[in-house]
Amino acid sequence: MALKEKDLHTLSGFPKNKMGKIVGYDNDHLKMPNKIIEMGLLPETSFRILYQAPFNGPMYVEFGDEKSRIALREEEGDYIIVEELN
């Protein structure tokens, strides 16, 4: 598997255990699974990536005021544009 250049502005490239904020979605977001939005990963939501499964497996993300937890793959994370908080 070719190593992918990680984009720090997407969720998949964001460092672990740092607080971040979702700012929007990739232009391609019509291809993005609706479930991402339905689960509450919306713009302005704060988040923190707590864990990631080995070999670039799914990310374990805690988000929002209610500290919900969600698992999603890097491919899904690529759609989500983020920035560092504080």
Binding site: P33, P54, S68, L72
Partner: protein, 677 residues
């Protein structure tokens, strides 16, 4: 036919909010609760009577939105929308810890004009997190009656029943989702044109889309230029985002956050349970503990059952009048049924562990851990749940694939799940392993347990391997993804699960018992009678087993099974197990009881000492391995086939599965026997 006397009520909510627990607390009928999205795989119903009113509760699969992304969500939306006339109202369950997410679906349903009662479950959990909910304000803001519950402690259940009795379901007149300005004109026209009573219904008729995703088919002859630019998916996204904004506004007035913030148990546990290394170690340990218990904890009740049926057979042999009936009961029915009842403890222990794992919320973590590892095989992390529950039974496992969104991954999972070692194989494995593996131990672990564990691993490996091969032959339909809620851990319902297991085990005994009862009678008849030996006889009775019709039939198929190392008795056993695998053991018990005049000798000992005409043991190492492999791979279960057909709606895939599995079984068993003999 629907009973018109009964009031029908739907239970609706997100997955993992305690919906099934509320269902169990309300209804008399028992249903499996699970803390993993997808356990409530189909709609279940239950009844209760409260103050002389009969109520039927229908528990629908959990969902996050009316727009389905998987089969179980589609079942949910379809039922809710199509059956509006049938139910009195919806009881909507909201988990206090995730109000926001739950309100999305709540408001969608409310906007459809469905009367509802809102139940907020586990408020105590929210308080621990420093979230204070003003229920009074909440109720006013939503225009709905709110009941607070803690379903596991049975708190608030009476109130729900009372509210249902008094029909306190409320509709809102005001739609909470405002049609976006750019579509407003068009939606209003559509609503009046098609006769929808509110704008949201008109909106939804577009945003739900059709199978082809084309909106023109709905707007039909309206000749609206605007409609060409409408994409259902874009409308859905627009709606979801707006609803969340609206929910935020409501919650801002209802929730007060206190500075205190206790760490949840979930957060502590997950540091280990989803750890890159320790997470996998724990998962393997859990599996090891389960299999160790299946073999050893179960040994004690199994000895008891064995003794009991032995005594019963000896008693009936002695006290019933001598003759065919005595032989039928003592040598046919009792050993046949006993041969299967003896495995109830093992099946019960296995099921109990699986239920506890599901309940606790741990399964979602296993999905998280396994997703990356399963992907090279064309499977999804969610496939691990059917695969693991396939170790109990393939039937519920195949049904539980409904929450896998991608159709290719779902089909692959269905096709390979029957390779997993189900509990019906356990009796066959146990008896064969008992015959061919010694009692020695290896660092305190019995060889027998290691071999049994090996059989489970073999099933898993072959499931993965065949998925990897098959994935090249299935066209990809849609995108694969994993977006999954990780629920908070919950204390499993130990006592409730125990009762559930007893029920399932009883189903197993009566279900398998019935089949084996009939099969053992047929086998007894075929073995008691034989082709006539003197010209004046119609048939020969009370013949030697070797001269019976059964032997004749068995010997008829010997050419086919001989390369696998089986004698005619095993052939009969294999033939009968195409009804269900565990029948093999019942058939063997009956056959070996018939062969001997000493019912007090254990069947397994008779099998151990049985020899072929050439003096070779029937159950030697080579034939034993051959039988194990045959049962590991062959598709021998009519009920599973029926479910696979129902879920895939394809004879092609169902047929392919039978041919692939049984062909592999024959080939591998033959290979093993020919090498080892």
């Amino acid at each position: 036919m629907q009973d018109t006397q009964k009031k029908q009520v739907l239970l609706v909510g997100n997955p993992n909010v305690g919906k099934s627990t509320v269902f169990n607390a309300l209804s008399n009928k028992k249903q499996k609760t699970g803390n993993y999205a997808g356990v409530t795989v189909a709609s279940h119903s239950g009844d209760y009577t409260y103050k002389n009113e009969e109520v039927e509760i229908i528990d629908l699969p959990g969902s996050y939105s009316l727009y389905p992304s998987s089969e179980d969500e589609a079942i949910f939306s379809k039922y809710l929308i199509d059956h509006q006339k049938d139910y009195a109202g919806v009881i909507y369950i909201l988990e206090a810890l995730s109000l926001k997410r739950g309100l999305l679906l709540f408001q969608q349903i409310q906007d459809l004009g469905v009367p509802m009662i809102l139940v907020v479950n586990q408020i105590d959990q929210a308080e621990r997190r420093g979230i204070d909910i003003d229920v009074q304000k909440f109720s006013e803001a939503l225009g709905i009656k709110i009941i607070q519950t803690n379903a596991k402690e049975h708190i608030g259940i009476e109130e729900i029943k009372e509210a249902v009795l008094n029909n306190e379901f409320l509709k809102t007149e005001k739609v909470s989702f405002e049609t976006p300005a750019e579509h407003k004109d068009f939606i209003q026209k559509l609503a009046s044109h098609k006769g929808f009573d509110n704008e949201y219904k008109a909106w939804m008729s577009l945003s739900l889309g059709t199978d082809s995703g084309r909106i023109e088919s709905i707007t039909g002859a309206m000749n609206e230029p605007d409609s060409k630019s409408l994409v259902p998916k874009r409308l859905q996204v627009q709606e979801t985002v707006r609803r969340y904004q609206n929910v935020d506004k409501i919650l801002a007035n209802v929730i007060t956050k206190k500075p205190q913030f206790k760490e949840l148990l979930t957060e502590k546990l997950d540091r280990i349970l989803v750890h890159k290394f320790w997470g996998y170690v724990v998962f393997l340990l859990i599996l090891l503990i389960i299999f160790q218990s299946v073999f050893f904890l179960a040994a004690y009740p199994m000895d008891g059952i064995d003794w009991l049926f032995g005594e019963m057979a000896a008693f009936s042999a002695e006290h019933l009048p001598q003759g065919p009936i005595n032989s039928l009961i003592s040598n046919g029915i009792i050993p046949g049924v006993g041969g299967i009842v003896i495995f109830a403890p093992q099946i019960g222990i296995l099921l109990y562990f699986l239920y506890l794992l599901e309940d606790s919320g741990y399964m979602a973590r296993v999905v998280f851990l396994m997703d990356r590892l399963l992907r090279p095989f064309g499977l999804n992390g969610k496939s691990i749940v059917p695969l693991v529950s396939g170790t109990a039974c393939a039937i519920p496992a195949v049904i539980s694939t409904r929450n896998i969104e991608n159709l290719k991954e779902r089909l692959l999972t269905i096709l390979v799940t029957p390779f997993m070692t189900c509990s019906a194989r356990l009796p066959v494995y146990s008896i064969i392993i008992g015959l061919i593996i010694s009692d020695k131990t290896f660092f305190g672990i019995q060889y027998k347990a290691l071999v049994l564990m090996g059989m489970y691993l073999l099933g898993f490996a072959v499931a993965l391997l065949s998925a990897a091969i098959l994935k090249g032959f299935i066209k990809n339909k849609g995108k694969t993804y994993l977006v999954m809620d990780l629920p908070t851990y919950k204390k499993p319902l130990f006592w409730y699960d125990f009762k559930m297991v007893l029920g399932k085990v009883w189903d197993f005994i009566t279900g398998a018992g019935k089949i084996i009862f009939i099969v053992s009678i047929i086998i007894w008849f075929l073995s008691y009678f034989g082709p006539k030996q003197q010209p004046d006889q119609f048939v020969a009775t009370n013949v030697e087993l070797d001269h019976s019709y059964l032997a004749k039939m068995g010997k008829g198929i010997e050419p086919i099974i001989e390369p696998l190392g089986y004698d005619w008795k095993m052939g009969v056993g294999i033939l009968t197990s195409f009804v269900a695998r565990e029948v093999f053991v019942g058939t063997m018990s009956t056959l070996y009881s018939l062969d001997d005049d000493a019912p007090e000798v254990k069947v397994i000992d008779k099998m151990r000492h049985d020899v072929k005409p050439n003096g070779e043991k029937v159950f030697n190492f080579a034939t034993g391995v051959s039988v194990l492999l045959f049962y590991a791979f062959a598709m021998q279960c009519v009920s599973t086939l029926a479910v696979v057909y129902r879920e895939t709606k394809s004879w092609k895939w169902t047929g392919l599965q039978v041919a692939m599995m049984t062909g592999l079984a024959y080939f591998v068993s033959m290979l093993a026997y020919q090498i080892l003999k």
